[in-house]
Symmetry: C2
Subunit: 324 residues, 2 copies
Protein backbone atom coordinates (compact mmCIF):
# COMPACT_ATOMS: atom_id res chain seq x y z
CA UNK A 1 0.00 0.00 0.00
CA UNK A 2 1.17 3.58 -0.49
CA UNK A 3 3.60 4.72 2.13
CA UNK A 4 4.63 1.22 3.05
CA UNK A 5 8.38 1.44 3.33
CA UNK A 6 9.39 -2.16 4.00
CA UNK A 7 12.23 -3.27 1.83
CA UNK A 8 11.14 -5.56 -0.97
CA UNK A 9 13.71 -8.17 0.07
CA UNK A 10 12.12 -8.45 3.48
CA UNK A 11 8.75 -9.41 1.99
CA UNK A 12 10.49 -11.96 -0.21
CA UNK A 13 12.11 -13.41 2.92
CA UNK A 14 8.79 -13.56 4.71
CA UNK A 15 7.27 -15.41 1.77
CA UNK A 16 10.24 -17.80 1.72
CA UNK A 17 9.97 -18.44 5.47
CA UNK A 18 6.20 -18.77 5.63
CA UNK A 19 5.35 -20.68 2.44
CA UNK A 20 6.53 -23.98 3.99
CA UNK A 21 4.11 -23.36 6.88
CA UNK A 22 1.09 -23.09 4.57
CA UNK A 23 -1.92 -25.37 4.78
CA UNK A 24 -3.27 -27.01 1.60
CA UNK A 25 -6.16 -24.51 1.62
CA UNK A 26 -3.68 -21.62 1.54
CA UNK A 27 -2.61 -22.22 -2.07
CA UNK A 28 1.05 -21.71 -1.09
CA UNK A 29 0.14 -18.19 0.14
CA UNK A 30 -0.02 -17.01 -3.48
CA UNK A 31 -3.70 -16.01 -3.55
CA UNK A 32 -5.88 -13.26 -2.09
CA UNK A 33 -7.47 -15.59 0.40
CA UNK A 34 -7.45 -19.13 1.68
CA UNK A 35 -10.17 -21.70 2.20
CA UNK A 36 -11.42 -23.87 5.00
CA UNK A 37 -13.49 -26.83 3.83
CA UNK A 38 -15.21 -28.04 6.98
CA UNK A 39 -16.58 -31.59 7.06
CA UNK A 40 -20.38 -31.77 6.79
CA UNK A 41 -22.04 -31.04 10.13
CA UNK A 42 -19.10 -29.01 11.43
CA UNK A 43 -18.97 -25.45 12.68
CA UNK A 44 -15.86 -23.36 12.09
CA UNK A 45 -14.81 -21.78 15.40
CA UNK A 46 -13.00 -18.44 15.10
CA UNK A 47 -10.92 -16.59 17.67
CA UNK A 48 -8.51 -13.68 17.44
CA UNK A 49 -5.85 -12.30 19.75
CA UNK A 50 -3.36 -9.50 19.23
CA UNK A 51 -0.02 -9.07 21.00
CA UNK A 52 1.96 -5.83 21.10
CA UNK A 53 5.66 -5.69 21.98
CA UNK A 54 6.15 -3.96 25.32
CA UNK A 55 2.52 -4.57 26.26
CA UNK A 56 1.97 -8.33 25.98
CA UNK A 57 5.54 -9.51 25.72
CA UNK A 58 9.01 -8.10 26.29
CA UNK A 59 10.97 -6.77 23.29
CA UNK A 60 13.86 -9.00 24.40
CA UNK A 61 11.77 -12.19 24.54
CA UNK A 62 13.09 -14.94 22.25
CA UNK A 63 11.19 -14.66 18.94
CA UNK A 64 10.39 -18.37 18.74
CA UNK A 65 8.70 -18.19 22.14
CA UNK A 66 6.77 -15.05 21.10
CA UNK A 67 5.49 -16.94 18.05
CA UNK A 68 4.50 -19.95 20.09
CA UNK A 69 2.76 -17.86 22.77
CA UNK A 70 0.82 -16.00 20.07
CA UNK A 71 -0.38 -19.31 18.67
CA UNK A 72 -1.05 -20.85 22.05
CA UNK A 73 -3.17 -18.06 23.52
CA UNK A 74 -5.44 -18.50 20.51
CA UNK A 75 -5.36 -22.30 20.77
CA UNK A 76 -6.36 -21.89 24.41
CA UNK A 77 -9.47 -20.02 23.26
CA UNK A 78 -10.27 -22.95 20.96
CA UNK A 79 -9.69 -25.37 23.85
CA UNK A 80 -12.08 -23.30 25.96
CA UNK A 81 -14.78 -23.73 23.29
CA UNK A 82 -14.13 -27.47 22.91
CA UNK A 83 -12.91 -27.09 19.30
CA UNK A 84 -10.20 -28.99 17.42
CA UNK A 85 -7.48 -26.70 15.96
CA UNK A 86 -7.49 -26.42 12.17
CA UNK A 87 -5.39 -23.44 11.03
CA UNK A 88 -4.64 -19.77 11.45
CA UNK A 89 -4.17 -16.46 9.67
CA UNK A 90 -1.28 -14.26 10.76
CA UNK A 91 -0.85 -10.48 10.72
CA UNK A 92 2.55 -8.89 11.28
CA UNK A 93 3.26 -5.17 11.64
CA UNK A 94 7.03 -4.99 11.63
CA UNK A 95 9.21 -2.10 12.83
CA UNK A 96 12.60 -1.58 11.20
CA UNK A 97 14.45 -3.13 14.15
CA UNK A 98 13.08 -6.56 13.25
CA UNK A 99 15.82 -8.27 11.26
CA UNK A 100 16.12 -11.45 9.25
CA UNK A 101 17.39 -13.46 12.22
CA UNK A 102 14.34 -12.44 14.24
CA UNK A 103 11.99 -13.45 11.43
CA UNK A 104 13.73 -16.80 10.96
CA UNK A 105 13.46 -17.61 14.66
CA UNK A 106 9.82 -16.48 14.73
CA UNK A 107 8.98 -18.75 11.77
CA UNK A 108 10.83 -21.63 13.44
CA UNK A 109 8.66 -21.17 16.54
CA UNK A 110 5.52 -21.31 14.42
CA UNK A 111 6.78 -24.44 12.67
CA UNK A 112 7.48 -26.17 16.00
CA UNK A 113 3.99 -25.49 17.32
CA UNK A 114 2.34 -26.33 14.01
CA UNK A 115 3.81 -29.81 14.38
CA UNK A 116 2.84 -30.02 18.04
CA UNK A 117 -0.77 -28.95 17.56
CA UNK A 118 -1.52 -30.19 14.04
CA UNK A 119 -2.34 -26.83 12.51
CA UNK A 120 -1.06 -24.87 9.52
CA UNK A 121 -0.89 -21.33 8.23
CA UNK A 122 -3.79 -20.23 6.01
CA UNK A 123 -2.65 -16.73 5.08
CA UNK A 124 -2.22 -13.27 6.46
CA UNK A 125 -0.77 -9.87 5.91
CA UNK A 126 2.56 -8.15 6.58
CA UNK A 127 2.96 -4.40 6.92
CA UNK A 128 5.56 -2.03 8.21
CA UNK A 129 4.97 0.11 11.30
CA UNK A 130 6.75 3.07 12.85
CA UNK A 131 5.56 1.70 16.21
CA UNK A 132 6.19 -1.48 18.19
CA UNK A 133 6.02 -4.96 16.71
CA UNK A 134 2.32 -5.85 16.58
CA UNK A 135 1.11 -9.39 16.03
CA UNK A 136 -2.40 -10.48 15.16
CA UNK A 137 -3.52 -14.06 14.89
CA UNK A 138 -6.91 -15.44 13.94
CA UNK A 139 -7.22 -19.14 14.74
CA UNK A 140 -9.74 -21.55 13.30
CA UNK A 141 -11.04 -24.70 14.91
CA UNK A 142 -13.64 -27.27 13.98
CA UNK A 143 -16.45 -28.50 16.22
CA UNK A 144 -19.46 -30.71 15.67
CA UNK A 145 -22.29 -28.33 14.76
CA UNK A 146 -23.91 -26.91 17.87
CA UNK A 147 -21.53 -28.75 20.23
CA UNK A 148 -19.56 -25.97 21.90
CA UNK A 149 -18.59 -25.09 25.44
CA UNK A 150 -19.99 -21.66 26.18
CA UNK A 151 -19.68 -19.18 29.05
CA UNK A 152 -23.41 -19.35 29.58
CA UNK A 153 -25.02 -22.44 31.08
CA UNK A 154 -23.61 -22.58 34.63
CA UNK A 155 -26.32 -23.35 37.20
CA UNK A 156 -26.40 -23.16 41.01
CA UNK A 157 -25.14 -26.43 42.43
CA UNK A 158 -22.63 -27.00 39.62
CA UNK A 159 -19.09 -27.65 40.80
CA UNK A 160 -16.25 -25.36 39.69
CA UNK A 161 -13.08 -27.07 38.43
CA UNK A 162 -9.76 -25.82 37.09
CA UNK A 163 -7.07 -27.66 35.14
CA UNK A 164 -3.37 -27.70 36.02
CA UNK A 165 -2.02 -25.11 38.43
CA UNK A 166 -2.89 -21.45 38.94
CA UNK A 167 -0.58 -18.47 39.45
CA UNK A 168 2.55 -19.77 37.72
CA UNK A 169 2.31 -17.25 34.89
CA UNK A 170 1.59 -14.23 37.11
CA UNK A 171 4.64 -15.04 39.22
CA UNK A 172 6.59 -15.91 36.05
CA UNK A 173 6.10 -12.38 34.76
CA UNK A 174 7.34 -11.07 38.11
CA UNK A 175 10.29 -13.46 37.93
CA UNK A 176 11.22 -12.10 34.50
CA UNK A 177 11.14 -8.63 36.05
CA UNK A 178 13.45 -9.83 38.84
CA UNK A 179 10.76 -9.46 41.51
CA UNK A 180 10.32 -13.16 42.35
CA UNK A 181 12.88 -15.98 42.65
CA UNK A 182 12.66 -18.59 39.91
CA UNK A 183 15.79 -20.75 40.23
CA UNK A 184 14.70 -23.45 37.76
CA UNK A 185 12.95 -21.07 35.31
CA UNK A 186 9.65 -22.95 35.71
CA UNK A 187 7.57 -19.87 36.47
CA UNK A 188 9.00 -17.89 33.53
CA UNK A 189 8.42 -20.78 31.16
CA UNK A 190 4.79 -21.01 32.28
CA UNK A 191 4.40 -17.30 31.46
CA UNK A 192 6.12 -17.56 28.11
CA UNK A 193 4.77 -20.87 26.89
CA UNK A 194 1.19 -21.63 27.87
CA UNK A 195 -0.16 -25.16 27.48
CA UNK A 196 -3.52 -24.99 25.72
CA UNK A 197 -5.71 -27.69 27.25
CA UNK A 198 -7.04 -28.94 23.94
CA UNK A 199 -7.45 -32.64 24.69
CA UNK A 200 -9.56 -32.09 27.79
CA UNK A 201 -11.32 -29.10 26.22
CA UNK A 202 -12.56 -31.26 23.36
CA UNK A 203 -14.40 -33.49 25.86
CA UNK A 204 -15.95 -30.67 27.90
CA UNK A 205 -18.95 -29.72 25.72
CA UNK A 206 -20.53 -33.07 26.75
CA UNK A 207 -19.57 -32.72 30.42
CA UNK A 208 -19.36 -29.11 31.59
CA UNK A 209 -22.21 -26.60 31.75
CA UNK A 210 -19.93 -23.59 31.03
CA UNK A 211 -16.24 -22.79 30.80
CA UNK A 212 -13.49 -20.52 29.57
CA UNK A 213 -9.72 -20.17 29.77
CA UNK A 214 -7.87 -18.25 32.46
CA UNK A 215 -6.33 -15.31 30.62
CA UNK A 216 -7.37 -12.33 32.77
CA UNK A 217 -6.95 -14.18 36.09
CA UNK A 218 -8.86 -16.94 37.85
CA UNK A 219 -11.25 -14.70 39.77
CA UNK A 220 -11.85 -12.30 36.87
CA UNK A 221 -12.45 -15.08 34.36
CA UNK A 222 -14.76 -17.03 36.63
CA UNK A 223 -16.50 -13.67 37.07
CA UNK A 224 -17.00 -13.44 33.29
CA UNK A 225 -18.52 -16.93 33.29
CA UNK A 226 -20.85 -15.97 36.17
CA UNK A 227 -21.90 -12.72 34.48
CA UNK A 228 -22.83 -14.44 31.22
CA UNK A 229 -24.53 -17.34 33.01
CA UNK A 230 -26.39 -15.05 35.44
CA UNK A 231 -25.07 -16.79 38.55
CA UNK A 232 -22.49 -16.31 41.30
CA UNK A 233 -19.66 -18.52 42.51
CA UNK A 234 -17.72 -19.18 45.67
CA UNK A 235 -14.21 -20.61 45.57
CA UNK A 236 -12.02 -21.80 48.43
CA UNK A 237 -8.51 -20.37 48.06
CA UNK A 238 -7.05 -23.31 49.94
CA UNK A 239 -8.34 -25.65 47.22
CA UNK A 240 -6.84 -23.71 44.28
CA UNK A 241 -4.11 -25.94 42.81
CA UNK A 242 -0.65 -24.38 42.92
CA UNK A 243 2.75 -25.59 41.82
CA UNK A 244 5.44 -26.19 44.44
CA UNK A 245 7.23 -23.16 42.96
CA UNK A 246 4.23 -20.92 43.66
CA UNK A 247 3.78 -22.38 47.14
CA UNK A 248 7.43 -21.64 47.93
CA UNK A 249 7.04 -18.04 46.70
CA UNK A 250 3.89 -17.65 48.87
CA UNK A 251 5.79 -18.97 51.88
CA UNK A 252 8.31 -16.17 51.45
CA UNK A 253 5.78 -13.48 50.53
CA UNK A 254 2.15 -14.29 51.46
CA UNK A 255 0.87 -11.08 49.82
CA UNK A 256 1.57 -12.67 46.42
CA UNK A 257 -1.72 -14.58 46.86
CA UNK A 258 -3.48 -11.62 45.20
CA UNK A 259 -1.25 -12.03 42.13
CA UNK A 260 -1.87 -15.77 42.09
CA UNK A 261 -5.66 -15.50 42.23
CA UNK A 262 -5.94 -12.23 40.31
CA UNK A 263 -3.11 -12.39 37.77
CA UNK A 264 -3.61 -13.61 34.25
CA UNK A 265 -1.94 -15.68 31.54
CA UNK A 266 -2.33 -19.13 33.09
CA UNK A 267 -4.35 -20.42 30.12
CA UNK A 268 -5.77 -23.18 32.24
CA UNK A 269 -9.47 -23.97 31.86
CA UNK A 270 -12.02 -23.06 34.53
CA UNK A 271 -15.43 -24.65 34.12
CA UNK A 272 -18.61 -25.66 35.90
CA UNK A 273 -19.79 -29.26 36.02
CA UNK A 274 -23.20 -30.60 37.06
CA UNK A 275 -22.57 -33.06 39.93
CA UNK A 276 -23.86 -35.98 37.87
CA UNK A 277 -21.03 -35.50 35.35
CA UNK A 278 -18.09 -35.38 37.76
CA UNK A 279 -17.25 -39.05 37.38
CA UNK A 280 -17.09 -38.71 33.62
CA UNK A 281 -14.92 -35.59 33.92
CA UNK A 282 -12.47 -37.43 36.14
CA UNK A 283 -12.28 -40.36 33.72
CA UNK A 284 -11.55 -38.02 30.79
CA UNK A 285 -8.98 -35.99 32.76
CA UNK A 286 -7.20 -39.14 33.80
CA UNK A 287 -7.30 -40.35 30.19
CA UNK A 288 -5.44 -37.24 29.00
CA UNK A 289 -3.17 -37.19 32.08
CA UNK A 290 -4.25 -33.73 33.23
CA UNK A 291 -5.04 -32.74 36.81
CA UNK A 292 -8.49 -31.23 37.35
CA UNK A 293 -9.23 -29.77 40.78
CA UNK A 294 -12.52 -28.91 42.43
CA UNK A 295 -12.18 -25.37 43.81
CA UNK A 296 -15.74 -24.27 44.59
CA UNK A 297 -19.29 -24.14 43.40
CA UNK A 298 -21.83 -22.12 41.48
CA UNK A 299 -24.53 -20.43 43.53
CA UNK A 300 -27.47 -18.14 42.94
CA UNK A 301 -26.61 -14.45 42.88
CA UNK A 302 -23.72 -12.73 41.14
CA UNK A 303 -19.97 -12.23 41.35
CA UNK A 304 -17.20 -14.42 42.71
CA UNK A 305 -16.46 -14.74 46.42
CA UNK A 306 -13.15 -16.20 47.58
CA UNK A 307 -13.07 -17.80 51.03
CA UNK A 308 -10.24 -19.26 53.05
CA UNK A 309 -10.28 -22.62 54.80
CA UNK A 310 -12.33 -21.20 57.69
CA UNK A 311 -15.00 -19.66 55.43
CA UNK A 312 -13.69 -16.09 55.86
CA UNK A 313 -14.18 -13.86 52.80
CA UNK A 314 -10.77 -13.02 51.29
CA UNK A 315 -11.92 -11.90 47.84
CA UNK A 316 -8.98 -9.98 46.32
CA UNK A 317 -9.63 -6.32 45.65
CA UNK A 318 -7.74 -6.70 42.39
CA UNK A 319 -9.55 -9.34 40.42
CA UNK A 320 -7.82 -8.86 37.10
CA UNK A 321 -8.74 -6.30 34.54
CA UNK A 322 -10.66 -6.46 31.36
CA UNK A 323 -8.60 -6.49 28.17
CA UNK A 324 -11.33 -7.31 25.66
Amino acid sequence: MPGDTRRLGEFELIHELFAPLAAPGAFGLTDDAAIISPPAGSDVVVTKDMMVSGVHFLPTDPPDLVARKLLRVNLSDLAAMGAIPHGYALGLSLPHQIDDAWLRAFAAGLAADQREFGIALLGGDTTSTPGPLTLSLTAFGLARAGRLLRRSGARPGDVVFVTGTIGDAALGLRALRGEVDDPDGFLASRYRLPLPRLALGATLPDIASAGLDVSDGLVADLGHLCAVSGVGAVIDATLVPMSSQVLRALDREPALIEAVLGGGDDYELVFSVPPANIGELERHASGVDLAVTRIGSIEAGEGVRVIDGTGRDITPRTTGFRHR
Copy 2:
Protein backbone atom coordinates in the same frame (compact mmCIF):
# COMPACT_ATOMS: atom_id res chain seq x y z
CA MET B 1 -3.01 -9.11 29.80
CA PRO B 2 -0.28 -7.87 32.12
CA GLY B 3 0.90 -4.41 31.30
CA ASP B 4 -2.20 -3.49 29.36
CA THR B 5 -2.93 0.02 30.49
CA ARG B 6 -6.20 0.80 28.73
CA ARG B 7 -8.73 2.28 31.05
CA LEU B 8 -11.45 -0.16 32.03
CA GLY B 9 -14.14 2.28 30.89
CA GLU B 10 -12.75 2.26 27.39
CA PHE B 11 -13.19 -1.49 27.07
CA GLU B 12 -16.73 -1.17 28.38
CA LEU B 13 -17.40 1.45 25.71
CA ILE B 14 -15.96 -0.78 23.01
CA HIS B 15 -18.22 -3.60 24.14
CA GLU B 16 -21.20 -1.26 24.15
CA LEU B 17 -20.38 0.04 20.67
CA PHE B 18 -19.55 -3.30 19.10
CA ALA B 19 -22.14 -5.65 20.64
CA PRO B 20 -24.89 -4.29 18.32
CA LEU B 21 -22.65 -5.15 15.35
CA ALA B 22 -22.37 -8.81 16.37
CA ALA B 23 -23.48 -11.67 14.16
CA PRO B 24 -25.67 -14.44 15.64
CA GLY B 25 -22.60 -16.74 15.71
CA ALA B 26 -20.75 -14.21 17.87
CA PHE B 27 -22.83 -14.90 21.01
CA GLY B 28 -23.07 -11.14 21.69
CA LEU B 29 -19.25 -11.05 21.88
CA THR B 30 -19.38 -12.61 25.34
CA ASP B 31 -17.47 -15.81 24.55
CA ASP B 32 -13.89 -16.81 23.75
CA ALA B 33 -14.67 -17.45 20.13
CA ALA B 34 -17.40 -17.25 17.52
CA ILE B 35 -18.76 -19.75 15.05
CA ILE B 36 -19.39 -19.90 11.34
CA SER B 37 -21.87 -22.60 10.31
CA PRO B 38 -21.37 -22.93 6.56
CA PRO B 39 -24.14 -24.52 4.49
CA ALA B 40 -23.32 -28.05 3.34
CA GLY B 41 -21.06 -28.02 0.29
CA SER B 42 -19.61 -24.59 1.11
CA ASP B 43 -16.04 -23.53 1.63
CA VAL B 44 -15.23 -20.77 4.11
CA VAL B 45 -12.96 -18.24 2.40
CA VAL B 46 -10.59 -16.37 4.73
CA THR B 47 -8.63 -13.18 4.10
CA LYS B 48 -6.78 -10.79 6.40
CA ASP B 49 -5.49 -7.26 5.98
CA MET B 50 -3.87 -4.93 8.49
CA MET B 51 -3.81 -1.14 8.35
CA VAL B 52 -1.43 1.05 10.35
CA SER B 53 -2.02 4.75 10.95
CA GLY B 54 0.54 6.83 9.10
CA VAL B 55 1.34 3.91 6.79
CA HIS B 56 -1.97 2.87 5.20
CA PHE B 57 -4.12 5.83 6.15
CA LEU B 58 -3.61 9.32 7.47
CA PRO B 59 -4.03 9.94 11.23
CA THR B 60 -6.45 12.73 10.35
CA ASP B 61 -8.67 10.57 8.11
CA PRO B 62 -12.30 10.46 9.28
CA PRO B 63 -12.65 7.35 11.51
CA ASP B 64 -15.82 6.15 9.79
CA LEU B 65 -13.98 6.11 6.46
CA VAL B 66 -11.01 4.31 8.01
CA ALA B 67 -13.41 1.62 9.28
CA ARG B 68 -15.11 1.29 5.94
CA LYS B 69 -11.82 1.11 4.02
CA LEU B 70 -10.55 -1.57 6.40
CA LEU B 71 -13.66 -3.63 5.71
CA ARG B 72 -13.67 -2.95 2.01
CA VAL B 73 -10.06 -3.91 1.26
CA ASN B 74 -10.88 -7.28 2.80
CA LEU B 75 -14.20 -7.54 0.96
CA SER B 76 -12.28 -6.81 -2.24
CA ASP B 77 -10.14 -9.89 -1.55
CA LEU B 78 -13.34 -11.93 -1.16
CA ALA B 79 -14.65 -10.45 -4.43
CA ALA B 80 -11.39 -11.45 -6.11
CA MET B 81 -11.96 -15.04 -5.01
CA GLY B 82 -15.62 -15.06 -6.09
CA ALA B 83 -16.88 -15.47 -2.50
CA ILE B 84 -20.00 -14.07 -0.83
CA PRO B 85 -19.22 -11.99 2.33
CA HIS B 86 -20.29 -13.61 5.60
CA GLY B 87 -18.62 -11.88 8.57
CA TYR B 88 -15.39 -10.61 10.08
CA ALA B 89 -13.18 -10.57 13.16
CA LEU B 90 -11.65 -7.26 14.20
CA GLY B 91 -8.41 -6.47 16.02
CA LEU B 92 -7.74 -3.00 17.41
CA SER B 93 -4.48 -1.78 18.96
CA LEU B 94 -5.38 1.61 20.36
CA PRO B 95 -3.00 4.39 21.36
CA HIS B 96 -4.05 6.79 24.11
CA GLN B 97 -4.94 9.53 21.62
CA ILE B 98 -7.95 7.52 20.41
CA ASP B 99 -10.93 8.94 22.27
CA ASP B 100 -14.56 7.98 22.67
CA ALA B 101 -15.69 10.16 19.75
CA TRP B 102 -13.21 8.43 17.48
CA LEU B 103 -14.42 4.99 18.57
CA ARG B 104 -18.07 5.96 18.10
CA ALA B 105 -17.43 7.22 14.56
CA PHE B 106 -15.37 4.13 13.76
CA ALA B 107 -18.19 1.83 14.94
CA ALA B 108 -20.71 3.87 12.94
CA GLY B 109 -18.60 3.33 9.81
CA LEU B 110 -18.57 -0.41 10.43
CA ALA B 111 -22.35 -0.40 10.97
CA ALA B 112 -22.94 1.46 7.69
CA ASP B 113 -20.88 -1.02 5.68
CA GLN B 114 -22.32 -4.01 7.49
CA ARG B 115 -25.72 -2.92 6.19
CA GLU B 116 -24.36 -2.24 2.72
CA PHE B 117 -22.56 -5.57 2.34
CA GLY B 118 -24.68 -7.89 4.48
CA ILE B 119 -21.97 -8.89 6.92
CA ALA B 120 -21.63 -8.82 10.71
CA LEU B 121 -18.95 -8.82 13.39
CA LEU B 122 -17.93 -12.25 14.71
CA GLY B 123 -15.45 -11.23 17.39
CA GLY B 124 -11.98 -9.87 17.89
CA ASP B 125 -9.55 -8.39 20.32
CA THR B 126 -8.71 -4.94 21.64
CA THR B 127 -5.36 -4.01 23.12
CA SER B 128 -3.52 -0.84 23.97
CA THR B 129 -0.36 0.19 22.13
CA PRO B 130 2.33 2.79 22.72
CA GLY B 131 2.60 3.01 18.91
CA PRO B 132 0.27 4.09 16.13
CA LEU B 133 -3.31 2.89 15.78
CA THR B 134 -3.10 -0.58 14.23
CA LEU B 135 -6.13 -2.30 12.73
CA SER B 136 -6.41 -5.95 11.77
CA LEU B 137 -9.40 -7.47 10.08
CA THR B 138 -10.01 -11.07 9.09
CA ALA B 139 -12.96 -11.43 6.72
CA PHE B 140 -14.92 -14.57 6.00
CA GLY B 141 -16.81 -15.39 2.85
CA LEU B 142 -18.70 -18.42 1.60
CA ALA B 143 -18.24 -20.11 -1.75
CA ARG B 144 -19.56 -23.29 -3.30
CA ALA B 145 -16.96 -25.94 -2.50
CA GLY B 146 -14.15 -25.91 -5.04
CA ARG B 147 -15.63 -22.97 -6.99
CA LEU B 148 -13.10 -20.18 -6.47
CA LEU B 149 -11.35 -17.70 -8.70
CA ARG B 150 -7.62 -18.25 -8.29
CA ARG B 151 -4.48 -16.48 -9.48
CA SER B 152 -3.41 -19.62 -11.27
CA GLY B 153 -5.19 -20.78 -14.42
CA ALA B 154 -4.45 -18.00 -16.96
CA ARG B 155 -3.48 -19.42 -20.37
CA PRO B 156 -1.92 -17.84 -23.46
CA GLY B 157 -4.69 -16.47 -25.64
CA ASP B 158 -6.90 -15.47 -22.70
CA VAL B 159 -8.06 -11.87 -22.76
CA VAL B 160 -7.21 -9.54 -19.85
CA PHE B 161 -10.07 -7.42 -18.46
CA VAL B 162 -10.36 -4.88 -15.66
CA THR B 163 -13.44 -3.53 -13.93
CA GLY B 164 -14.21 0.17 -13.42
CA THR B 165 -11.42 2.71 -13.83
CA ILE B 166 -7.73 2.55 -12.94
CA GLY B 167 -5.55 5.18 -11.28
CA ASP B 168 -8.20 7.10 -9.32
CA ALA B 169 -6.88 5.96 -5.94
CA ALA B 170 -3.20 6.61 -6.71
CA LEU B 171 -4.04 10.15 -7.79
CA GLY B 172 -6.49 10.44 -4.88
CA LEU B 173 -3.65 9.86 -2.41
CA ARG B 174 -1.65 12.55 -4.22
CA ALA B 175 -4.69 14.85 -4.12
CA LEU B 176 -4.94 14.37 -0.33
CA ARG B 177 -1.27 15.36 -0.13
CA GLY B 178 -2.01 18.49 -2.18
CA GLU B 179 0.02 17.26 -5.16
CA VAL B 180 -2.86 16.80 -7.63
CA ASP B 181 -5.97 18.92 -8.25
CA ASP B 182 -9.23 17.24 -7.18
CA PRO B 183 -11.93 19.93 -7.32
CA ASP B 184 -14.91 17.57 -6.81
CA GLY B 185 -13.13 15.24 -4.35
CA PHE B 186 -13.75 12.25 -6.63
CA LEU B 187 -10.14 11.05 -6.61
CA ALA B 188 -9.80 11.31 -2.81
CA SER B 189 -13.07 9.44 -2.31
CA ARG B 190 -11.86 6.64 -4.58
CA TYR B 191 -8.73 6.37 -2.42
CA ARG B 192 -10.62 6.46 0.86
CA LEU B 193 -13.62 4.33 -0.02
CA PRO B 194 -12.95 1.46 -2.41
CA LEU B 195 -15.86 -0.32 -4.09
CA PRO B 196 -15.38 -4.07 -3.69
CA ARG B 197 -16.65 -5.67 -6.91
CA LEU B 198 -18.55 -8.43 -5.16
CA ALA B 199 -21.47 -8.90 -7.55
CA LEU B 200 -19.29 -9.39 -10.60
CA GLY B 201 -16.67 -11.30 -8.59
CA ALA B 202 -19.27 -13.89 -7.59
CA THR B 203 -19.88 -14.71 -11.27
CA LEU B 204 -16.20 -14.92 -12.28
CA PRO B 205 -15.28 -18.43 -11.08
CA ASP B 206 -17.47 -19.77 -13.93
CA ILE B 207 -16.13 -17.30 -16.50
CA ALA B 208 -12.54 -16.22 -15.82
CA SER B 209 -9.45 -18.43 -15.84
CA ALA B 210 -7.66 -16.35 -13.15
CA GLY B 211 -8.06 -13.05 -11.34
CA LEU B 212 -7.24 -10.85 -8.37
CA ASP B 213 -7.91 -7.35 -7.11
CA VAL B 214 -5.77 -4.32 -7.87
CA SER B 215 -4.23 -3.39 -4.53
CA ASP B 216 -0.51 -3.08 -5.36
CA GLY B 217 -1.09 -1.50 -8.78
CA LEU B 218 -2.41 -2.75 -12.12
CA VAL B 219 0.95 -3.82 -13.55
CA ALA B 220 2.23 -5.34 -10.29
CA ASP B 221 -0.98 -7.26 -9.62
CA LEU B 222 -1.27 -8.58 -13.15
CA GLY B 223 2.38 -9.57 -12.64
CA HIS B 224 1.38 -11.62 -9.57
CA LEU B 225 -1.31 -13.38 -11.63
CA CYS B 226 1.23 -14.11 -14.40
CA ALA B 227 3.83 -15.40 -11.94
CA VAL B 228 1.40 -17.83 -10.29
CA SER B 229 -0.09 -18.93 -13.63
CA GLY B 230 3.35 -19.29 -15.28
CA VAL B 231 2.50 -16.97 -18.18
CA GLY B 232 3.19 -13.43 -19.37
CA ALA B 233 0.84 -10.62 -20.37
CA VAL B 234 0.83 -7.60 -22.61
CA ILE B 235 -1.47 -4.67 -21.95
CA ASP B 236 -2.12 -1.62 -24.11
CA ALA B 237 -1.95 1.52 -21.96
CA THR B 238 -4.34 3.31 -24.33
CA LEU B 239 -7.03 0.74 -23.54
CA VAL B 240 -6.76 1.04 -19.72
CA PRO B 241 -10.04 2.60 -18.55
CA MET B 242 -9.57 5.93 -16.77
CA SER B 243 -11.99 8.38 -15.22
CA SER B 244 -12.37 11.83 -16.74
CA GLN B 245 -10.68 13.16 -13.59
CA VAL B 246 -7.59 11.02 -14.20
CA LEU B 247 -7.55 11.92 -17.89
CA ARG B 248 -7.63 15.64 -16.98
CA ALA B 249 -4.75 15.17 -14.54
CA LEU B 250 -2.74 13.31 -17.21
CA ASP B 251 -3.38 16.16 -19.67
CA ARG B 252 -1.74 18.54 -17.22
CA GLU B 253 1.04 16.19 -16.13
CA PRO B 254 1.66 13.23 -18.50
CA ALA B 255 4.32 11.74 -16.17
CA LEU B 256 1.49 10.74 -13.81
CA ILE B 257 0.87 7.76 -16.11
CA GLU B 258 3.41 5.82 -14.04
CA ALA B 259 1.35 6.44 -10.92
CA VAL B 260 -1.84 5.46 -12.73
CA LEU B 261 -0.49 2.14 -14.02
CA GLY B 262 1.84 1.44 -11.10
CA GLY B 263 0.00 2.89 -8.10
CA GLY B 264 -2.20 0.79 -5.86
CA ASP B 265 -5.46 0.89 -3.94
CA ASP B 266 -7.88 0.80 -6.87
CA TYR B 267 -9.53 -2.41 -5.64
CA GLU B 268 -10.85 -3.09 -9.12
CA LEU B 269 -10.64 -6.65 -10.41
CA VAL B 270 -8.17 -7.70 -13.10
CA PHE B 271 -8.77 -11.11 -14.64
CA SER B 272 -8.15 -13.30 -17.65
CA VAL B 273 -11.00 -14.73 -19.73
CA PRO B 274 -10.87 -17.49 -22.34
CA PRO B 275 -12.20 -15.97 -25.59
CA ALA B 276 -15.21 -18.33 -25.61
CA ASN B 277 -16.47 -16.81 -22.31
CA ILE B 278 -16.32 -13.13 -23.26
CA GLY B 279 -19.97 -12.94 -24.28
CA GLU B 280 -21.06 -14.39 -20.93
CA LEU B 281 -18.75 -11.95 -19.07
CA GLU B 282 -20.30 -9.01 -20.87
CA ARG B 283 -23.84 -10.20 -20.07
CA HIS B 284 -22.98 -10.56 -16.36
CA ALA B 285 -21.17 -7.19 -16.23
CA SER B 286 -24.12 -5.51 -17.88
CA GLY B 287 -26.45 -7.27 -15.41
CA VAL B 288 -24.62 -5.76 -12.43
CA ASP B 289 -24.11 -2.42 -14.19
CA LEU B 290 -20.32 -2.50 -14.03
CA ALA B 291 -17.95 -1.56 -16.85
CA VAL B 292 -15.45 -4.25 -17.83
CA THR B 293 -12.72 -3.28 -20.28
CA ARG B 294 -10.45 -5.44 -22.40
CA ILE B 295 -6.90 -4.14 -21.89
CA GLY B 296 -4.64 -6.87 -23.27
CA SER B 297 -3.96 -10.55 -23.43
CA ILE B 298 -2.10 -13.41 -21.83
CA GLU B 299 0.88 -14.77 -23.74
CA ALA B 300 3.54 -17.39 -23.25
CA GLY B 301 6.57 -16.23 -21.27
CA GLU B 302 6.67 -14.21 -18.09
CA GLY B 303 6.16 -10.70 -16.77
CA VAL B 304 3.89 -7.86 -17.90
CA ARG B 305 4.72 -5.66 -20.87
CA VAL B 306 2.90 -2.38 -21.33
CA ILE B 307 2.66 -1.01 -24.86
CA ASP B 308 1.27 2.25 -26.20
CA GLY B 309 -1.11 2.57 -29.15
CA THR B 310 1.76 2.11 -31.62
CA GLY B 311 3.09 -1.04 -30.00
CA ARG B 312 6.06 0.70 -28.35
CA ASP B 313 7.11 -0.80 -24.99
CA ILE B 314 6.37 1.71 -22.21
CA THR B 315 6.47 -0.68 -19.23
CA PRO B 316 6.83 1.54 -16.12
CA ARG B 317 10.04 1.08 -14.20
CA THR B 318 8.01 1.36 -10.99
CA THR B 319 5.46 -1.39 -11.14
CA GLY B 320 4.17 -1.19 -7.60
CA PHE B 321 5.78 -2.83 -4.64
CA ARG B 322 5.01 -5.95 -2.72
CA HIS B 323 3.23 -5.47 0.58
CA ARG B 324 2.38 -9.06 1.33
